[in-house]
C-alpha cells in the first residue's frame, strides 16, 4: 500500500504530467529562404547624418547584415536631388549635416541597384517636430516573465515621458538609448583621473508607439517608453543618462511600425495575431509586383534626457558603489583605467558640453 505521503506525491506527479506543455526550438528545413532586397533609412529635419541601408535578407535565425554595395541612393524633393555616399558596404550616408528635411515638404527615396533595378519609396510629407516636455524614471518592482514563460518579481527602472500634443492625429514612436559616465579612482601616481563615457545601445526590439487620433488626448502623462532590468554597478558609478528620442512619424509609418510590433513581440499564446509579411513603402519602379522590404521613414525628432545619479541607484537598489574604497582589493582594472571598459571614450558628448 502506498503511504499517505507517497500517494500525495504520486497524485502531484500525475497532475504535473497533465500540465505537460513543452517549448522546443523548431526549424523549417524544407522552407526555401527568400532572397529579397531590403531598403530602409530615415530622413529628418535634424542636423545629423542621415543614413540609408540597403541589404538582402538572410536566412531565418541568422543575424547577418548582407549589405548591397555600389547602389546609387538619393532623395528626390521636387526637382532637387540629394545624393548619398556609400560609407561602408550597404550603408549610405548623406554627408555634411547640411541637408535636412523641411516639415510639410514631400520626399521620395530613390535607389538604383547595380543590376539596373530602380526602387523608390512612396511619396510622403515630413512631419512637424513635437517637443517632448520631460523624461523621468522610477525604480519599480514588476512581475517579469522570462523567455521560458516563468514569472518572478524583479527590479525595473522604467523611463516615462510627458508630452503636450499640440495637434490631432499625431503619430509618435520613441526610442531610448543610454550613456553612462565612469569617473576613475585615484590610483597613485601623477595621472589625473579621467572620466569615461560609455554608450549603451538600447534594445531596438522595444518599440513604443502612440497616436492620439482615436482618443483625442492633448497630453500624454507618464507614458512608459523604455525600461531597464539589469543593473551592473559599473554602469552607475557616475551619472547614467537616458536619452529619449521622440519621433513624430507619418500615419503610414505608424501603421508599418505597428505591424513590426505584432511580429516581434509575440507572446506565444493563442491570442497572438497570426504573423504575416510586412509591406513597407518601397517598390520597384519597373516592376511594381516585385517584393521589396523595408521602409524609408520621414520623422521629426526631439530628444529629452533623464539622469540617474549614483546615490539614487544605491538607495533604490540598496547597493554599494562600484570601486568601493573599503574594498580596494576587489577593484577591477577599470577603476584605475576606465578606457578598459568596452566602447569607452573620454570624449564628452556634445550635449554634455
Amino acid at each position: 500500500m502506498l503511504s499517505r505521503a507517497q500517494w500525495k506525491y504520486g497524485m502531484i506527479s500525475a497532475v504535473l504530467f497533465t500540465i505537460a506543455a513543452c517549448l522546443d526550438p523548431i526549424e523549417f528545413p524544407d522552407v526555401e529562404a527568400e532572397d529579397l532586397v531590403v531598403i530602409e533609412g530615415q530622413f529628418t529635419p535634424s542636423k545629423r547624418v542621415h543614413t540609408v541601408r540597403i541589404s538582402r535578407t538572410s536566412a531565418f535565425g541568422k543575424k547577418v547584415f548582407r549589405g548591397v554595395e555600389n547602389a546609387g541612393v538619393s532623395i528626390l524633393h521636387g526637382d532637387l536631388q540629394e545624393v548619398f555616399l556609400e560609407v561602408s558596404p550597404g550603408i549610405y550616408a548623406l554627408e555634411g549635416h547640411t541637408v535636412r528635411g523641411q516639415p510639410g515638404e514631400k520626399y521620395v527615396l530613390e535607389v538604383k541597384m547595380p543590376n539596373g533595378k530602380v526602387f523608390r519609396s512612396l511619396e510622403d510629407a515630413m512631419p512637424m517636430v513635437q517637443q517632448a516636455d520631460s523624461a523621468y524614471f522610477h525604480f519599480e518592482r514588476e512581475v517579469f516573465v522570462n523567455p521560458s514563460g516563468r514569472d518572478r518579481f524583479a527590479n525595473v527602472l522604467n523611463i516615462y515621458i510627458d508630452t503636450h500634443l499640440k495637434e490631432r492625429d499625431l503619430y509618435l514612436r520613441w526610442y531610448v538609448d543610454e550613456l553612462y559616465s565612469f569617473p576613475e579612482e585615484t590610483c597613485g601616481g601623477l595621472d589625473i583621473p579621467l572620466t569615461c563615457y560609455i554608450p549603451l545601445e538600447g534594445n531596438p526590439q522595444n518599440i513604443s508607439l502612440y497616436n492620439n487620433r482615436e482618443l483625442g488626448l492633448d497630453k500624454i502623462t507618464g507614458l512608459k517608453v523604455g525600461s531597464k532590468n539589469s543593473f551592473p554597478a559599473v554602469e552607475f558609478k557616475g551619472p547614467h543618462y537616458f536619452t529619449v528620442f521622440q519621433h513624430v512619424i507619418t500615419q503610414n509609418a505608424y501603421a508599418y511600425w505597428q505591424k513590426v510590433v505584432d511580429v516581434v513581440n509575440q507572446s506565444g499564446t493563442v491570442f497572438d495575431k497570426p504573423p504575416a509579411r510586412i509591406t513597407g513603402n518601397m517598390y520597384n519602379v519597373q516592376n511594381p509586383e516585385e517584393r521589396v522590404l523595408g521602409y524609408f521613414e520621414l520623422a521629426a525628432i526631439d530628444t529629452v534626457r533623464t539622469v540617474v545619479l549614483p546615490s539614487e541607484y544605491q538607495e533604490a537598489l540598496n547597493r554599494s558603489p562600484h570601486c568601493n574604497t573599503f574594498f580596494r582589493a576587489q577593484w577591477g582594472p577599470e577603476c584605475c583605467n576606465c578606457l578598459r571598459i568596452l566602447n569607452a571614450t573620454t570624449e564628452r558628448p556634445g550635449w554634455l558640453k
Binding site: C22, I26, V31, E40, F65, L293, G294
Partner: protein, 899 residues
C-alpha cells in the same frame, strides 16, 4: 397548442400508468362500464400500465364487484370473461390481447416481449399472432414495431429486424421504430442488435397491428465497446450520405484524455472529423471551420461545446442518449450552418427507479442521477461535473503552476413529464463554465447557458408533433491579470430560439415540416482596465439579428432498392438596429479612411436582410443487400460567423451576425458515397465530396478584430472550397472490433483581388484546417468477459502556418520575413492512446456495477506542435519555438460506477 388538439384521435393504444404490484387487493365496483373504462380505471387506481387495443375489446357494458381480490386475479377474471389474455411485458406494464390462455402461461413467458396473442411458447422462439383487426383482403398489412431496451425503456436504434422468410430487413430508427409491410401469412422474424441479445419470433399476421419488443441488453455489452453506431445493414439502407450515429455505449468506448469518455473525442475517430490539435476548441468537419458546425443539444442550439482547452466537451456521456453527426447530406430540418450538424440527444430520467452513474479521476468527477418524480409519469435527470485540480496545484512549488488556473464545471437538468398517452413535456437547463489562466500572462473564461421547454406529441402511429422554446447565452471573457496593460474584455452572444415541427409517416414517406425562429443578440464588447492599468475603458456595441427558417423534407423509400431524402428550406435573416451602416468608396475593400456616408438605424429597425431557398437532396440505390450507392446535393446558408485572428481558434473568438458588408456564407455541398458489406463482420465505405463556399471572410494581415466597431474593415472577403475522399473499413465482433479510416481532404480559400490588399496575391491558399492526409485506427479487443483493451492511433498532416523564411533589419530591429499565408506545414501530428478497462462486477443481476479504466494518452510521448511563435533575446536573432500542449504521455485511472 391548439394544433395538437385537432389532430387525429387515438387509434390504437390507450396507456395508463401506475404501479407494479399485482398483489394489491382490489376493492371496487363497476356497473355497466365498458372494458376500456375498467382497464383505464384499474390502471390509474393501482398505478399499473395496461395497454390494449380498442379494436380488440368488446364495447359491451360490464358489471363487476371486487372485494379484496388481488389485482392479478381481477385481470384474470375479466380476461376469462372476454376471451382475453394479459401479460406483463415489462416491469409494471401489461398488455391485454385476444385469446384466453391456460393458467401459468404468463409466468412461463415472462422473458418474452409484449405481443398480442401467443398460441404457443417455445424455449427460444416466441410464437405470436399479430392483428385481428379487420382489413381488406389482398391488401398489405402494416405492422409498426418498437424495439426498446428492457432495462431502461430506451429506444434501441439501428437494430435489424430481419424477415427470415422473405430475407427482407428493416432497421430501427432513433426512436426504435420500424415498419413491416406484410401479407397475411406466417413469418419468422429475427431481431438483432450489436448492443442487445438477439430475439426471434414466429409471427402469424392476421391484421394491422403494433408490436412492442423489449430486448435484453447484452450483459457483456454494458458500457463496452461497440465499434459502430450503425450496423452494416443500417448503413446500406441509410439514404443520408455522411451520417455518423453513436450511442452512449459507443461514446464510452474511447478512454480519451484523462480516462474520460467524450462525445467530441469519439467523433474525432470518424473519417472527416479533425481538430487542429490539443488545446484547440471545437472540431472541424471536412475542412470546415468550427463555427460551421451546427451543434444541437436536444434540438436546442449550443454555441460552444468545449471545455477547457478543448480536451473535454460539455456533453456528459453518462446522460447522452445518442449522437448523430451529419457531415454530408444535411436534411432540410437543419439550418444555419454549412459544414455539419451534431445532434446530441439527452436521455430521459428513469421513470421507474432511481439510478445513478458517475466516475471519478484525477482531474474531475461527474455524477448523473435519475429520479422518477411520479412513477411512470415524470422523471428527472440531473448531472454535474466538476474539475478540482486546484487542491493539487497548491502542493506544487512552481510559481507558474501556483499562479495558473484551469477549472470547469457543468450542470444539466432535464425534467420529463408524460401527459396522457400521447404527450410529453420536457423542461431542461444546462450550464457550463470554464476558466483558464496561465500564470500572470493571460487567461480566458466562458460560460454557456441554455434553458428550454419542449413539447412532443405522438398523435398516432403516423403523426408526431413537437415544439420548443429556448433561451441561450454564451459569455466570453479574456484578460491579462497583471502588468501595466492589465485588462478584462467581455463579449458574448444571447439568443432566443423557437421551433415547431411535425413528422408524418405513411406509405414509405417520412415527411418532416416545421419552422424555426432565432433572435441573436451579440453582447457589447466591454474593455475594463484592471487595477493600476493604463488601458482605457471602452465599450463597442455589437449587432443583432433574427433568422427565420421554414422547411419541408421527405424521406421516401420508393422501392426496396431506391430511396430519396429531399427537402427545401427557406430562410430569412434580418440585421436589426440600433446601429450604423457605413458606405465605403470601394465595396471590395472596406477602408476605414474612405467612408462615403453613414446611415443610422433605431432599435429594432431592419438594417439589412437576406433570404434564400436551400434545396437538399440525397439518393440511395441499393444494388444488393450488401452494396449501396449514395449521392447528395445540399445548399446551405450561414448567417452567424465566428471571427478570429488568433493563431488558432480560441474559446473567446467573436460572434458576428451577417450585415450589409459581411454577407451570409453560402455553401453548395456535393457528395457521392458507397457502402459495401464484405462479410457479416467486415464492411467498407467511402465518400467523395466537394463543397463550394461563397462570401467567406478572412482576417486582413494584422487586422484588429477585438474592439472593432466595424469589423468589415478588418476582414477580406472571398470564397472557398473543400474537397476530398474518405475511406473506412470496419470490423465488428464481440471479441475484436475496430475501424481504419483514411481521408484525403483539402480546404482552401481565395480572397477577392483588390488593388489595395489581398492574401497571397489573390491565389488559392490553404485554410487553417487544411490537413490533406489523415489516418485513423481504432481497435477494441475483449480479452475476457471482464477485461477489454483499446488502442487508438491518429495520424494527420501538419496544418499550414505562415512561417518565417528570412531575417532583415529595420533601424536595428531584427524582423522575421514570413512566407505567404499558410504556405508552410507544421510537422505531422500523430498519437497513440491505449486503454484497459476492468469490470469489477459484471453479474447481470447486480444492481451496482463498476469498473476501472487505466489509460495512457500519447503513449510514445510525441511532442505534437500546437503553435509556433518567435522570441528574441536582446542582441540575438529571432528563434522559432514550438508549443506542444501535451508533450508527454498522460496516464490516468478512472473509476466509473452505475446503479
Amino acid at each position: 397548442m391548439r394544433i395538437f388538439s385537432i389532430v387525429l384521435a387515438l387509434a390504437f393504444i390507450q396507456v395508463v400508468y401506475g404501479q407494479e404490484e399485482m398483489d394489491q387487493l382490489v376493492t371496487m365496483d363497476y356497473e355497466d362500464e365498458g372494458l376500456d373504462y375498467i382497464f383505464s380505471h384499474l390502471g390509474n387506481h393501482y398505478n399499473v400500465v395496461i395497454r390494449f387495443n380498442d379494436a380488440n375489446i368488446t364495447s359491451s357494458k360490464n358489471t363487476y364487484s371486487f372485494d379484496g381480490i388481488q389485482l392479478k386475479d381481477v385481470l384474470k377474471i375479466i380476461c376469462r370473461d372476454h376471451q382475453l389474455t394479459y401479460r406483463e411485458y415489462d416491469h409494471g406494464k401489461f398488455i391485454v390481447f385476444p385469446g384466453f390462455l391456460e393458467e401459468g402461461f404468463e409466468e412461463r413467458n415472462e422473458d418474452t416481449t409484449g405481443i398480442r396473442a401467443a398460441r404457443k411458447v417455445g424455449i427460444e422462439i416466441d410464437s405470436i399472432v399479430l392483428g385481428t383487426e379487420d382489413f381488406q383482403r389482398n391488401s398489405t398489412i402494416v405492422i409498426d414495431g418498437f424495439v426498446l431496451d428492457r432495462e431502461t425503456n430506451e429506444a434501441v436504434m439501428n437494430a435489424m429486424v430481419l424477415n427470415l422468410t422473405t430475407s427482407q430487413f428493416e432497421i430501427t430508427d432513433q426512436e426504435g421504430k420500424f415498419r413491416l409491410n406484410l401479407d397475411e401469412a406466417n413469418y419468422d422474424i429475427q431481431i438483432t442488435s450489436i448492443t442487445h441479445e438477439t430475439y426471434a419470433a414466429h409471427i402469424s399476421v392476421e391484421g394491422k397491428d403494433q408490436w412492442y419488443i423489449a430486448l435484453a441488453p447484452k450483459a457483456h455489452m454494458i458500457d463496452e465497446i461497440v465499434i459502430s453506431g450503425q450496423s452494416a445493414q443500417a448503413e446500406i439502407k441509410e439514404v443520408i450520405t455522411g451520417l455518423e450515429q453513436l450511442g452512449r455505449r459507443e461514446i464510452k468506448q474511447l478512454s480519451a484524455f484523462m480516462g474520460e469518455a467524450d462525445v467530441v473525442k469519439s467523433l474525432l475517430t470518424v473519417a472527416g472529423v479533425t481538430t487542429i490539435g490539443e488545446g484547440a476548441s471545437g472540431f472541424n468537419v471536412r475542412g470546415g471551420s468550427i463555427d460551421q458546425n451546427l451543434i444541437l443539444q436536444d434540438g436546442l442550439l449550443l454555441m460552444n461545446p468545449s471545455h477547457i482547452l478543448g480536451f473535454f466537451s460539455t456533453f456528459n456521456p453518462d446522460i447522452v442518449l445518442n449522437t448523430s453527426l451529419h457531415k454530408g447530406h444535411i436534411p432540410a430540418q437543419y439550418g444555419g450552418r454549412i459544414s455539419s450538424v451534431l445532434d446530441v440527444n439527452i436521455k430521459e430520467g428513469d421513470y421507474k427507479s432511481i439510478r445513478f452513474h458517475g466516475s471519478t479521476g484525477f482531474i474531475s468527477s461527474k455524477l448523473a442521477l435519475e429520479v422518477p418524480v411520479q412513477k411512470n409519469v415524470s422523471s428527472l435527470i440531473l448531472s454535474g461535473r466538476l474539475a478540482y485540480a486546484a487542491w493539487l496545484k497548491s502542493n506544487v512549488e512552481d510559481l507558474d503552476i501556483q499562479n495558473s488556473q484551469a477549472r470547469f464545471n457543468d450542470f444539466h437538468f432535464k425534467y420529463s413529464h408524460k401527459i396522457g398517452s400521447k404527450d410529453k413535456l420536457f423542461a431542461s437547463y444546462f450550464q457550463s463554465y470554464d476558466r483558464f489562466k496561465f500564470s500572470q500572462q493571460f487567461g480566458f473564461s466562458w460560460q454557456n447557458r441554455i434553458a428550454g421547454i419542449q413539447y412532443k406529441r405522438i398523435e398516432n402511429q403516423n403523426l408526431s408533433l413537437a415544439a420548443s422554446m429556448a433561451y441561450g447565452e454564451l459569455n466570453n471573457n479574456q484578460f491579462e491579470p497583471s502588468g501595466p496593460l492589465a485588462f478584462e474584455l467581455q463579449s458574448g452572444v444571447h439568443y432566443l430560439q423557437l421551433k415547431t415541427s411535425g413528422i408524418y409517416e405513411n406509405s414509405g414517406h417520412i415527411l418532416r415540416m416545421g419552422a424555426e425562429w432565432i433572435h441573436y443578440d451579440t453582447s457589447p464588447e466591454q474593455l475594463t482596465p484592471l487595477d493600476g492599468s493604463q488601458t482605457p475603458a471602452r465599450t463597442i456595441d455589437k449587432e443583432r439579428g433574427r433568422e427565420i427558417g421554414l422547411y419541408i423534407n421527405d424521406q421516401w423509400e420508393i422501392t426496396d432498392q431506391f430511396s430519396v431524402d429531399f427537402g427545401l428550406r427557406y430562410s430569412i435573416f434580418q440585421q436589426l438596429g440600433p446601429g450604423i451602416i457605413k458606405t465605403y468608396e470601394d465595396d471590395s475593400f472596406y477602408d476605414p479612411n474612405r467612408v462615403v456616408s453613414t446611415e443610422s438605424f433605431t432599435k429594432g429597425a431592419v438594417m439589412h436582410s437576406y433570404h434564400g431557398l436551400q434545396p437538399r437532396i440525397s439518393l440511395r440505390f441499393a444494388f444488393s443487400d450488401n452494396f449501396s450507392l449514395k449521392a447528395s446535393y445540399n445548399r446551405l446558408y450561414q448567417y452567424l460567423h465566428l471571427l478570429s485572428n488568433a493563431t488558432s481558434p480560441t474559446p473567446v473568438d467573436i460572434w458576428q451576425v451577417s450585415n450589409r458588408h459581411i454577407q451570409p456564407v453560402t455553401a453548395d455541398n456535393y457528395s457521392l458515397g458507397w457502402f459495401h458489406r464484405l462479410s457479416d463482420k467486415v464492411d467498407y465505405s467511402g465518400d467523395f465530396y466537394y463543397r463550394n463556399l461563397e462570401n467567406t471572410v478572412d482576417h486582413r494581415d494584422f487586422g484588429d478584430l477585438l474592439l472593432q466597431e466595424h469589423l468589415e474593415t478588418a476582414i477580406l472577403k472571398g470564397r472557398g472550397r473543400t474537397y476530398g475522399m474518405e475511406l473506412t473499413i470496419k470490423k465488428s465482433g464481440e471479441v475484436l472490433s475496430g475501424r481504419v479510416s483514411y481521408s484525403y481532404a483539402r480546404s482552401e480559400r481565395l480572397t477577392d483581388k483588390t488593388d489595395i490588399e489581398t492574401i497571397n496575391d489573390g491565389n488559392w491558399f490553404s485554410s487553417n484546417f487544411d490537413q490533406p492526409h489523415t489516418l485513423k485506427f481504432f481497435l477494441n479487443w475483449k480479452l475476457s468477459k471482464r477485461d477489454r483493451f483499446d488502442i487508438n492511433f491518429t495520424y494527420a498532416s501538419g496544418r499550414p502556418i505562415t512561417a518565417p523564411t528570412s531575417n532583415y533589419f529595420i533601424q536595428g530591429v531584427i524582423i522575421p520575413g514570413f512566407s505567404e499565408r499558410n504556405a508552410v506545414r507544421l510537422p505531422s501530428y500523430h498519437r497513440l492512446d491505449v486503454g484497459y478497462t476492468f469490470t469489477v462486477n459484471r453479474r447481470r443481476s447486480a444492481r451496482y456495477k463498476h469498473d476501472v479504466t487505466l489509460a495512457f494518452y500519447n503513449l510514445y510521448a510525441r511532442r505534437n506542435v500546437f503553435s509556433v511563435f518567435y522570441r528574441q533575446r536582446s542582441g540575438t536573432a529571432i528563434n522559432a519555438l514550438q508549443l506542444s500542449v501535451v508533450g508527454t504521455v498522460i496516464p490516468s485511472i478512472t473509476y466509473s460506477f452505475r446503479y
